[in-house]
């Protein structure tokens, strides 16, 4: 268990920060669309700049469905996330679904990961520009809720909505 991860400062905007974790080219493009995102390839974040990091509101773990390595990377990084984040501030994003033939991870494995950590799993294909933009918009909407900008909806209630169907 470590303290909640923080990272270097960005110019202040009204959008709270999001932390995508993972490693791939299209991921960088997605991160660019999310204007205040702090990209990390894995956790734990380096501790040198701890004091400069703002409070994170959403941690997005990116899993590339074509590489088993990315799943392992995410699984090890999960251990470094403070438990309080799993009350609605963590989300798994699976990319690469556009190439069904190149999948080396089963979607069931990822869904199970989402269930174990009580966090929603989103699927997308980041190589296509249109889908990248749409996914970024979806993440921003989730982010607004996690940061408390939507009155009456908390991160925890929202994540339970996203998962309500699974439990039924």
């Amino acid at each position: 268990l470590t303290a909640p991860p923080r990272q270097g400062q960005c110019p202040t905007l009204s959008i709270p920060p999001v932390l995508p974790v993972g490693a791939s080219g299209p991921l960088v493009k997605l991160a660019n669309l999310l204007s205040r995102s702090h990209l990390a390839t894995s956790l734990p974040l380096p501790s040198e700049r701890d004091h400069l990091r703002p409070r994170m509101d959403l941690v997005v773990f990116m899993i590339d469905i074509k590489s088993k390595y990315s799943l392992k990377n995410v699984e090890t990084s999960l251990a470094y996330v403070d438990a309080s984040f799993f009350l609605g501030k963590v989300c798994f994003l699976v990319t690469g679904v556009g190439r069904v033939n190149a999948c080396s991870i089963e979607t069931n494995a990822v869904r199970k990961l989402g269930e174990t950590y009580c966090s929603p799993v989103l699927f997308c294909e980041l190589e296509l520009e249109g889908i990248r933009a749409a996914t970024a918009q979806r993440l921003v909407r989730m982010l607004r809720i996690c940061a408390g900008l939507v009155p009456g909806v908390s991160a925890l209630s929202f994540v339970s909505l996203m998962r309500k169907s699974d439990d039924d």
Binding site: V97, G130, L161, M162
Partner: protein, 746 residues
Amino acid sequence: MQRRRSSKTPKQPLSIPNKSQTDLSAWRKGGKIDPEKSVQNNQSADDQKCESQEGSLEQALSYFQKAQDSVAPKKKSVEQEHLDAVESTALEQGLPPEGFEILLKVVLSGTFADTVNTRLLKSLIPASVIPENSVVTAVSWLCVGKCSSNIQLLFLKWLITMFDFIDHKEQLNALYGFFFSFLQDEKLCPYVCHVLYLLTRKENVRPFRIRTLLDLQAKMGMQSHLQALLSLYKLFCPEQVTITLPGRMKTYFKNSEGPWKAAITAVRQRNQGSSPLSQAVFLGTSQPQSRKRKWNAQLVIPASSASTKHLDEDREKSCFYLCSPNESFPVEQLQTFPQLLQNIHRLEFPSQMGSVLTNPLLLHYMNCVKDESIYLRLYYWMGQRLQEECPWCVVDNPYEEEFRSFLETVYKAECFLQEGFSACEEFLYKTLPLWDGICCRSEFLRLVSWIPLSSFSDIKPYLFDPLAQLFFTSSIYFKCSVLESLKELLQNWLIRSVIQMDLEISSVNTTLSGLVNTVAELVHFVGWISTVAMRLENNSTFLLYFILDFYGTVCDIYLKYNLPLLIMPPAGVFYPALLSMDSVNLNQLCYIMYRYRANLVAAKENELSKKKILQFKFSNRTYQEYNQYIIAMVGCLWTSSAFQKDTHPQGLCMDDKLLSKSAVKEVKSSFNIVYHPAMMGYSVKFLQQICPGDTALNFKLIKGKKWDWYLEYLYSRGLRGLKAFIESSISRVSQAARSKAGNADV
């Protein structure tokens, strides 16, 4: 089987070697593919370029023709030049029909090296049609086996890709046995299976062929292509194929289009509108053709039936078909409804089942015939097409426009048949979790509305869960689109349930409760997501409109569809609507509550009169819910007593201390249709009309007679829902208006 015409005596004049120049120019002057280009008199630069290009094509074709017979060593540079000519013409305009015979002969006779053959095959793109003779010649050379196996494979792929462009297929069908013999070659087997799948007709299914396929299966194991062919055989002649095949497997053939895909699209786009021959012929429909239609989409039907050049041949053939009773009637000649009725017993479906989708005559036929093979073929074809061209599932496929129009075609066919396709349903379940919510949005959501009626809990994890996840994270417009398509889904299910109840009168107990449960769960699901959506979008008026539209269908389920179901909207929808800031939503809410009342009253009457033996009656809880809402509504609109009387746990009840903090004078009589925020505009306008000079708006003036005038004024502004509600639920008005005892409480 015999070939009806020997391929050794082609009818084209190209067999005379030395006159190639004049022959091809005869083609150029005669039945030309691009008449505009040759008829135009002005010598534009384009014309000159085309002519030089055609000239070089002619030279290339004559070179290739001669090269087959000559034994002199071939010069690389000359070869390159002619290859380039062929390739560039093919990519720009497509090759003329006469060129195919020469080039196919050259390729399959192994005259040149494999690299040349591959390039030639990849440029065999038609400008309009491919003459059947050329393919027959090609097959005969294929049987000789002079070319390498890679070229054989590529030729088969080409044949599959270009199948729709071949003008006639009777001779090809006669070669069925020759194709069948190629099944033994392991490398070619999948593609040969695909070709056979396209060619098979009922008379081709023979016991020895079935035995061969079963032997192959025993040798190679269950392959998807063998299975597809066996399933097709089984449907044509179920008594002959006795093995059990897995029902609706996702079997499909590997995509063979690769090398020609981009080129074909380019040619189609360029030649769009240039001549009637190059356009597809729609049988009896007057649909405008889309600009960017993918070449091998179902919409292409061979142009032979419209070609005036081959009119004599066609007439011969058509007489032949109509005269002999054993022959089946090819669907290309179906033009009118009376023709359909005359030939309905011997109609033969086209090889590419997709052409059925745009042809209303064939859809009529599909509706009434019991032939399972049609549905299976359509299922395979549609499943494959949907899966391979889905833009968000197949990254390399950039043809979003075409996919969108394809989805639209499927939707229109579903509307025509009034039911969904199972291939479509499976496609939705498979791709919904991966969808981003923007690509082809309206077309995709419209397909959702045709999901067949089945147990809600079965389809929930495939449809409603991923839909909910997308719904909560997407824009307000997406939310509204989803609500609209769920409303249509509800309507389709209700209609289907009416039909099902009529048909299964004997087991009405089990069927009815199952249907009611499914519909009820759908309504509860929509109520749940609507409540959340109102919170997420901060009580948006636009969103509320769509939600109330959905409940506009729900409120009349009992009276319109005779299903014993009445579900009130959840509090998270009702109260925001009651307190909304705009009159449209308030009006709609009034109308919906009026309809609920009508349904409840009718149900009570039926129960009391005991005319029918009811298996179901609405529980007291339903009436109680309705009463609670009505109290709140009347309190808000009429008696200003909502804050005292509303007992709903999520309602408006507030104690006096809290109310006094609002600093509103006479708080207990200041919330009704005069003071309601949505109605303030109307009351101000009304006051201005009755007291024209008065600048101080004195709302207290609206009482007694003026109150009735005010009501009339509101009705005249189009608030018909309000009118219906007030006249039915407010006793004073009802008594005054119609002397009917209509109480606020039912």
